[in-house]
Amino acid sequence: MVAGLLLHRLISLHQEKMSEMANEELQQIRFISPIGSMGGGISSAALDEALAQSPHFIACDAGTTDAGPFSLGMGAPAFPREAVKRDLSLMLRAGREASIPVIIGSAGTAGGDTHVDWVLEIAREIVSEHDLTLRTAVIYSEQDKAYLKRLVHENRIFPLDPAPPISDSIIDGSTRIVGMMGVEPLQQALSDGADFVLAGRCSDSALFAAIPLMHGLPPGLAWHAGKVSECGTLVCETLGKGVIFTTVSQNEITIRPYGNGLRCTPQSVAAHSLYENADPYLHRECSGTFDLTKSTFEAIDRLTVRIRGSEFIAQPYTVKLEGAELAGYQSIIVGGIRDPYIIRQLDTWLGSVRAYIDESVSRVLGDKADKSLYSINFHTYGINAVMGALEPNSKHLPHEVGIVLEATAPTQDLAHKLAQLSRQPLLHYPIKEWVGSITAFACLHNPAVIDRGPVYRFNLNHVAVPSTPFEMFRTHFIDLGGSST
């Protein structure tokens, strides 16, 4: 793979250049991870305590795919604006006070351009309210569809396992696709003098590894320090209000919390690498994999853990892609059933209700509702709504069953009508045990139908092979505050 080797060389040149550009190469880098997700509520007392330890930077992850595809698809952040503003304001003011950079990644939950602009607008407000000046680097990570299609044709997009298929039409059908940046665009922005780096979708660990790597600290330690720090106090024995303070040096990492009652223990820090990762030892980043197989964890004091032995294996440069596409629009009905005669035959009864719904949909809506284009799902709480096909205990019958009927269709109008047409059969579909008209379903609401709006699905689990670590990302410098605003 000649292109891969060339790129490899380019990256090591970049790292050498970055080390040179770091004004003085420091033997030790200290940083604060004030919270696992911007908007979660930073403890300002703990932040002040940690600031007194002379950190070199503050970094914070602001995003995740954990909540689902909606944020990426819709362009909507998951946290309230006020919560993001409070945390960002604490960090930016702390950064200015200590004259150290603040790095925010995966802005606005999904890190799309609209998410980044949403946070930028909040930063403008903070800067003007607190009379700050901030040389700001905004790094966008949303991907151009024509560019991605070119990569597909050049065989430069590869599936991860498991991955849905990829094609031009999948890319065209996406509402939004982002690339997950590595340390390089962050380092470039910092060496160009940014006080505040506001990044789109970014590797969580990269936010913390960028500066230690610029100072030539060992990559295994720099990346592992990012990994154990990025979730804030989740790395502690028990979760609580506080901040994480991490030091990376030539041969070790130390990590400790500031905050009442919090402590890092060798087990809590070792266990953190299990969290939300399929593999607890190998963690793939753009420029390679950090390997924790040989990492050791030991207590230095009651609160602090020392990590040694983490390694990094350089690999051909790849950028992970995340995409969302519209799955349709939903309307739901929420309610429950208490009648034991129905509960004991619930599967059969719901099957009959479904057949009745399909029949009335076809009778009333005709060609407007092609059965292949809509779906109706029953979530039966109390039976198997939570585990679905994995439920080992679905034969156990409760005394009451909660039901969510979920209609999904290509338009909100159709989804709404499907749910409306479902209400009568749910209410009145007969059973042989009772003679005469029954009302079988206890509706929670009137109107019974709730429109959920658009729903999205993740449609990519792939990596792209760019020709440089920078070509998929766009950096804009903006001077916030001072005379320019």
């Binding site: 795919t65 954990d66 909540a67 689902g68 595809p69 909606f70 991860l160 396992d161 498991p162 991955a163 849905p164 060798p266 087990q267 070792a270 266990a271 690498s273 299990l274 969290y275 939300e276 990762n277 399929a278 593999d279 607890p280 030892y281 990492s295 050791t296 964890f297 799955a327 349709g328 939903q330 779906s375 799902n377 979530h379 709504a385 939570v386 585990m387 679905g388 096909a389 994995l390 080992p392 979920e406 999904t408 729903v455 999205y456 699905r457 993740f458 689990n461």
Partner: protein, 101 residues
């Protein structure tokens, strides 16, 4: 004895939208070793419990974290219509009652 009586945390979670991951954690080395030596936790047993092909099960024994980990592809992709557990947090229950001889 069942696994839930020995472990101090059994949990499940998404590892990205396409993967479910399960952690089984212990308070002390003796408990960890007891479960490890019993051989009750292994890819074949997990595959049976979660009705998935054994070759899709990834299994890790992490002694430094006093933990075992399993990872499998999600039965339904996160958020796909029909998926009832967006974060994957309530999928660990069948592990609780695994018999540890």
């Amino acid at each position: 004895m069942i696994l839930a009586d020995i472990a101090n945390l059994i949990r499940s979670k998404n590892a990205g939208p396409f993967t479910l991951t399960f952690d089984i954690m212990f308070a002390d080395l003796a408990s960890y070793r007891r479960v490890k030596d019993s051989g009750a936790l292994n890819p074949a047993a997990f595959a049976k419990l979660y009705r998935c092909p054994v070759e899709k099960v990834r299994f890790f024994e992490c002694e430094n974290a006093l933990a075992f980990k399993f990872s499998i592809p999600r039965p339904l992709i996160q958020g796909q219509p029909g998926d009832g557990d967006m974060h994957g947090g309530q999928q660990f229950i069948p592990l609780m009652t695994v018999e540890i001889p």
